[in-house]
């Protein structure tokens, strides 16, 4: 498994520089508060309202949160992260607002800056708290609304602001735009892969992400290899290749919509029936659940996570896998956004089972999985580094208990967070990509030519 560690360190450095380029806020204090409230009012749904009404302040959500569990700091109690929305709701939207106003403080500018840390740095919208809440409150969904409200007031962490701004201005992330992607494609072709770019007609539009382009090139190559092997009619689009959506992560709705639209345009252009989202957690719900609503109409294509796509091909018998054998002990880390948020937790397990590895289901696996600690953009927030690391302890404990040699992941940012966390903690578990593992062990129909040399290994930890 080859991750260029030089690239990795360079990427880590780039992340550290992110905040310094953040554009400054031009809003007055009053405008900030007004923007927050307007966003709350606009985004509130009856479902959220009834859930905000029903909280009994039992605090059990804290027990589900990796940040609280690992730090013991009560400020990370998930429901408390909704305080801004809750207080606004109680004072201005609730049926009983005239009563609640008597004893509910209005939100202030101080609150806004204090809650920035709570809804950005210390919440990955992993939704584990939604699984424990006895009242069924969907906290994660409402944290997103809080992010959107703070974004409307230009109060998002500088790193995310920079990323969102870049995606808005140049349609690029970390400097990877259309041009850089095209070069990447050429690089892949130089490796001997057959890559389809900007085909006029294709059944499948394959997306990728900046992380795969900059760091995990092998995942990209593995995806291409698999689609070719399965003899699919597919294409990349040089205009709509990026699955990551920093508008969604940072709560800047205009950027989210623009990024989504680029993908939808690309899919429409080639008449794709399926759009495959790469190993990138948040990209999946962004396109699977959010896009149609931003667009205002149902999408003309189906959205599949690549693990989901592979699982489906396996089921119908198109995808045939070699048995690796039980000597390989692996466990699997579910990306929150794909498993818990989107119900696609079965396919990765089917694939691993087909590979006949010694699969060790972790405690709290599947839809109950603990977040890696770096999701929803938290990985990029530099000041949250120690908090992330604290949360990562939970992951190490979880996987140490499985006795597996390596952890298979299906999300680039989880993987990044694992790599950084493992490096800081000198954790020796292997960290590998599901797609790479599958691609390396696929039964090839025609005798393999000399192509694909880059993806031959069985995925030993790098």
């Amino acid at each position: 498994m080859s991750v260029n560690m030089e690239n990795f360190q360079r990427f880590a450095e780039a992340v550290k520089q992110l905040g310094s380029e953040a554009p400054a806020c031009k809003l007055t204090d009053e405008e900030c508060l007004a923007a927050v409230k307007e966003t709350f009012a606009r985004r509130l749904t009856p479902a959220m309202a009834v859930q905000l009404e029903s909280c009994v302040h039992c605090g059990q959500c804290a027990e589900a949160c990796h940040y609280y569990v690992e730090t013991g700091d009560p400020k990370y109690t998930p429901i408390r992260k909704l305080d801004l929305l809750k207080r606004f709701y109680r004072r201005e939207m609730s049926p009983l607002r005239w009563l609640h106003r008597l004893y509910t403080r209005d939100i202030t500018l101080d609150d806004l800056s204090q809650w920035q840390e709570l809804v950005f740095d210390s919440c990955t919208e992993c939704a584990r708290c939604s699984m424990v809440c006895p009242m069924g409150i969907n906290i994660a969904e409402m944290v997103l609304v809080n992010r959107q409200a703070l974004a409307a007031a230009h109060l998002i962490p500088p790193e995310l602001r920079t990323m969102a701004q870049e995606q808005a201005d140049n349609a690029s992330l970390f400097g990877v735009g259309s041009e850089q992607f095209t070069q990447m494609v050429k690089q892949l072709e130089a490796q001997g892969l057959e890559v389809h770019l900007d085909r006029e007609q294709a059944d499948i539009l394959l997306l990728t992400s900046v992380v795969d382009i900059l760091l995990f090139n092998d995942v990209l190559a593995a995806s291409v290899k698999l689609l070719n092997l399965l003899e699919k009619s597919w294409t990349f689009s040089s205009e709509g290749f990026e699955a990551a959506n920093f508008g969604f992560l940072s709560g800047v709705e205009s950027v989210q919509k623009a990024a989504t639209e680029r993908v939808i345009r690309a899919a429409r252009a080639c008449g794709a029936k399926v759009v495959i989202v790469p190993e990138c957690g948040h990209a999946y719900p962004s396109l699977r659940w959010e896009a149609a609503n931003l667009e205002g109409e149902p999408l003309p294509f189906e959205v599949l996570a690549i693990s989901e796509f592979l699982g489906r091909e396996l089921k119908v018998g198109n995808l045939k896998l070699k048995k690796i054998g039980r000597q390989k002990k692996v466990s699997f880390h579910d990306p929150c956004k794909v498993s818990r948020h989107s119900g696609a937790d079965r396919d990765p397990r089917e694939l691993l089972r087909a590979l006949d590895v010694d699969f060790r289901e972790p405690e709290s696996g599947g839809i109950m999985n603990w977040c890696c600690g770096g999701g929803a953009g938290v990985f990029l927030i530099n000041r949250a580094a120690d908090l992330r690391q604290a949360a990562f302890r939970r992951k190490m404990k979880q996987f140490d208990a499985t006795g597996a040699d390596s952890v298979v992941l299906s999300c680039g940012s989880c993987r990044l967070n694992f790599m950084v966390g493992a490096q800081r903690a000198n954790w020796d578990k292997g960290i590998e990509s599901l797609v790479e593992l599958v691609a390396a062990n696929v039964v090839e129909k025609s005798p393999p030519a000399d192509r694909g040399s880059a993806i031959q290994t069985n995925g030993d930890p790098s």
Binding site: L44, T45, P46, A47, A49, V50, Q51, E53, S54, C55, V56, H57, C58, G59, Q60, A62, E63, A64, Y68, V69, G72, P74, K75, T77, I79, R80, M93, S94, P95, L96, L99, Y103, S130, M131, V132, C133, P134, M135, G136, I137, N138, E141, R288, W289, A292, N293, E295, G296, E297, P298, L299, E302, V303, S339, H341, S342, G343, A344, S364, I367
Partner: protein, 217 residues
Amino acid sequence: MTLLEFARGPAMSWALIILVAGLTWRLAGLLLLLRRRDLSRPRNTHTWWGGFRTIFTRFWPHREFLRPTAFHLAMGYVLHIGLFVVVFLFVPHILYFKGLLGISWPGLPNKVVLLAGALTLGALVAFLVRRLTHPVMRTISGWDDYFSWLVVTLPVVTGLMAFSHLGARYETLLAWHLLSVELMLIWLPFGKLAHAVLFIPSRAQLGAWFQRRGVRA
């Protein structure tokens, strides 16, 4: 008019009127909020089923959460079952409901009800101590939490006092008990006690959300 007559007559009538009006107000007050039609392609279309199911599945935590929520689980069940027994299975209460609703059901011997009342009170005290000492609960608690605790505890205490004729004359205790129940009924729609009703739509919303996304939560 004696205190007991006041408690039995006008106070109870008004408490019930406020209870009903408050609850309908609070629920109807959510109906006209803007809805969003979800245009994404659902994994499951029978979202109502997920909603319905979740109303019941959330009565018991996923095994992941059994240990960390053991206190709330145990005390919560003692409190709620205790309240249920005391409120609905004590014969004089059943007679009250019969007068109000016209239907009746068998009750439990007073000794059992007394035990349930004592356990309920114990659970209430445990919850208060926990709320005052546990960092998370202390952080997220507001006056509604403490006031609601008080208006639930008072009927239990006065009920136990009236039951055992302790502290004052029976009709005075009965009047206190009725008045404290009325205070609870009046506050119920406006504070967190409304979770007695709200848990249903709230859980159903989450259940439907997960069902639509194919998550077996």
